[in-house]
Point group: C2
Chain length 123, copies 2
């Protein structure tokens, strides 16, 4: 299903703003905050957040709050854990976390707090 079909399948209107947002999410495939992409999208922050909200409500995206007080959004497809660096606040997707953990239907997400590779070296 392409971007247009995905959007229309949720009875949402297909607009340039929404198309560009989903393309960015598919291309980067990592959690993204408004701050991360505000310079590469040409839309007001209200539009960004309202679309995030619409996408999340329709199951296209999921989101979480990081340690830097920003909300991060990502496509809701793959189940994986996140590592949030306790020093630099960077976010890394952990695709090699024991998949059994996610077999528990009660677990919707896992976040590990620790140092990222870069900050670990600098210690």
């Amino acid at each position: 299903m392409n971007t247009k079909e995905l959007i229309k399948s949720k009875s949402l209107k297909f607009t340039p703003a929404r198309e560009s947002l989903l393309e960015i999410f598919e291309k980067l495939s990592k959690p993204i905050s408004y701050e991360d992409i505000k310079d590469s999208i040409s839309m007001d922050k209200a539009t960004f957040y309202r679309n995030m909200s619409a996408f999340e409500k329709n199951g296209i995206l999921k989101s979480f709050e990081s340690n830097d007080k920003k909300r991060y959004y990502e496509l809701s497809g793959s189940m994986h854990a996140h590592l949030i660096c306790t020093k630099c606040n960077s976010i890394e997707c952990l695709h090699d976390i024991p998949q059994e953990l996610f077999n528990d239907p009660d677990i919707e997400g896992i976040t590990i707090h620790g140092k990222c590779k870069k900050c670990k070296q600098e210690n």
Copy 2:
């Protein structure tokens, strides 16, 4: 080590504000936000946050950002995971998480996202 000794061991001044804060943390032993206790402490929010910061810098407390955009603080003693409810944002300490996970010195904290007991029933 009592409250006074703990504070002085960090070369911090022992004040009524700090004493009452640590007593609350010891009594409740769960993650606490400013909102949670603002009515039961008689101190300005600036004092609360500045003391949280001082305690955290000295290893007395640790903190994390929850899904409700509030920062939660707790005593840094025990290693346990947290369950943050994806529906009501309540926070629960999970003391029965496989302790092996915490043997990895790189793991400083674990957060599980899912429904709390109460919200699970209501589904």
